[in-house]
Symmetry: C2
Subunit: 213 residues, 2 copies
């Protein structure tokens, strides 16, 4: 959403490729990567699989593109929160709210991200694919580290209890990311409802279930 994100004039090809990736994400979300055939993706695009292979050389690469786009959206979503003015706790809260919102908004992409790179540990054969795999794993770690650092900062500022940073980050992010299993985008109309839900989820992570006092 920042001003220099959008490329000037996206070419027709880039748009077509983006459409392929988007529909592939929906297919992978619905049936899982392995159960999805390239024909399924083509059917959803209303074309034959020749076109799909024209834009993406292998099914594995198709998955990588979806995963990469999913991660890109996650980073993009929390970026404004990182610049939020306020205490380290307020920044952390803004990050969690933004992340929860992104998980709901980009449900299909993030479901595929969760399916994970693990499945492809043996499927990546070419050196090129292996490099992409490493890149995606690294981007996951980088993302989690942003939260670990912020949790550590907030703890050192005295805002948090004496939590283990690594475990806290995993439980906190897990609580938000588990929404891929229960959230149904079509049952939830409108941006407002989604934003309210994201705030409620983040509040539970920050404050816990227990009453204050």
């Amino acid at each position: 959403m920042s001003e220099n994100e959008t490329p000037p004039i996206p070419s027709r090809n880039r748009l077509r490729k983006a459409a392929v990736i988007e529909q592939a994400a929906i297919c992978f979300m619905e049936k899982g990567y392995h159960a999805t055939s390239v024909d399924d993706v083509a059917r959803r695009l209303g074309c034959s699989k020749g076109r799909v292979y024209h834009y993406c050389p292998t099914k594995t690469d198709l998955f990588f593109e979806v995963h990469r786009e999913g991660m890109r959206r996650l980073f993009e979503a929390i970026e404004p929160a990182l610049r939020t003015p306020g205490s380290s706790l307020e920044v952390l809260r803004a990050m969690l709210v933004a992340h929860a919102g992104a998980m709901l908004r980009h449900h299909h992409f993030e479901t595929v991200v969760a399916q994970g790179v693990q499945i492809h540990r043996f499927g990546a054969t070419t050196p090129d694919q292996r490099a992409t795999l490493s890149e995606l794993i690294a981007s996951r770690d980088t993302f989690e580290n942003l939260f670990k650092k912020q949790i550590a900062a907030a703890r050192d500022d005295g805002h948090l209890g004496d939590v283990d940073v690594s475990i806290a980050a995993k439980v906190a992010l897990g609580g938000l990311q588990w929404s891929i299993y229960w959230y149904r985008p079509d049952a939830d109309r409108g941006r407002n409802a989604r934003d309210r839900l994201a705030v409620m989820m983040a509040d539970i992570i920050i404050d816990g279930l227990r009453a204050r006092g």
Copy 2:
């Protein structure tokens, strides 16, 4: 772990079938259901797939057995917590600790449970399989409802903040269940380490990240 759980003398056949299901769970965990071939399961058992098919008529049924056993272990784990003497909050905490422990202890089964019944919505063809599918979905709901009820009780007793019960249950369980993505059983020796981890996870859910006071 209760005294009337163990069948008197499990027959050799029951043991063999249990071994098939156990190894299938590990395969499904490692590669996912669809990417796992029946030959993979057989190879892990050190036999040919003839034996696998002897104990389980189809691959779909094999998945169902793993899922059913995974759910059985989850119910078994929290059952003692339900009888814990103490306040509704203490019962809730005991349930969360027990659930976290079960997720870590039965990592391979619970990873498969998470893969979900959703994938089989179109794979279940026979009426028998459809019935099993409904049963498994129902058992998931029943399990979540146990936590919802306890959260509602603790809230009505004034122990919790003014949380939405349904969302609180989903975020809380999700925070624990996400461990299927990061926990590595073999990197974590000993029962004590696991139990401590489970307590830490549950504490984060109950108390949240923020400091008390």
